[in-house]
Symmetry: D3
Subunit: 67 residues, 6 copies
């Protein structure tokens, strides 16, 4: 019954990669805490790089500078 929310920048994650994240997190919760996969909910938010900041700057600005 866990709920996991994964926030990443919107930079091209494929459906296959997102499926891998869902499977991986569900397995992790099963293995570590014996949580039931059938009621483990995972959501992935993909956030525009204008809308994600670190170090006081947007990721858009950091990417333009090569970070």
């Amino acid at each position: 019954m866990p709920y996991v929310n994964i926030k990443i920048t919107r930079e091209g994650a494929t459906a296959e990669q997102k499926a891998e994240l869902i499977q991986g997190v569900t397995d992790l919760l099963k293995n570590v805490l014996n949580k039931n996969p059938a009621t483990t909910v995972v959501t992935i938010d993909e956030v525009s790089t204008d809308n994600w900041g670190i170090g006081g700057e947007s990721v858009t600005v950091r990417r333009a500078r090569g970070d």
Copy 2:
């Protein structure tokens, strides 16, 4: 002054249905906890079925299988 976040898969909820959810949750908090509707904030996130997992699979995969 409550804040309620509703996450659902993006599968065609209409503006009217979302308005019904907003009204229903606000009424519920008024009736149960006497919270002031004027400062009750509700947000609805509609999440792509690729980005929603349950049972270790994405909803896209489950829908394709008829679940």
Copy 3:
């Protein structure tokens, strides 16, 4: 399969009232969007009044002033 998060100030909501919120939100999603109650997850966060702000002030300060 919806996920609903309800944030309220920690001001004495009883277990019965919280059960009413859980039941009410689950019924609402069933009635409006035909969502399956068995996989509708609801969590309630009760937040200290020092940690909740509105109008630029904490709720603790506002309560002390009779708001």
Copy 4:
């Protein structure tokens, strides 16, 4: 290492304004709690006015009425 999530209605915030919010919140956490900007993460969610409710109504309805 703080994580800050800002939710606003999607009503035309520019990249520059969002950068200002990111910088402003990061500075605030540095000044008040001496948090390290390099690991301060800020995300901004812009929510459709159909999906944001206050007072039991969606913002779309309130805007149409001039609120």
Copy 5:
């Protein structure tokens, strides 16, 4: 730079198990999306069973019934 929030019921997860979840999620994001562990933030919320609902009931009620 991902941000992951894991919500579980407060039912005795140990510091070691929580460390395993943190390590596991960070590794998963590194392996699947090549995300930098140094800026991958993970938070775990442990929620009272009175405050977690599924199927319209609180987990406290379900546990009392042996679910």
Copy 6:
């Protein structure tokens, strides 16, 4: 009407500092986006250092090592 959630580690932030964060964020949203302070909601989550991870480790472990 914005909603801002600030997550920090539970490491002794005082009521005054949290009030400063609430005031600062509310002012920032007023100045940058002309948002109405009266309906700007801010919540602060203080998270145990066992429950906060960065770089694949809990903050408890990192603090013990002097990070």
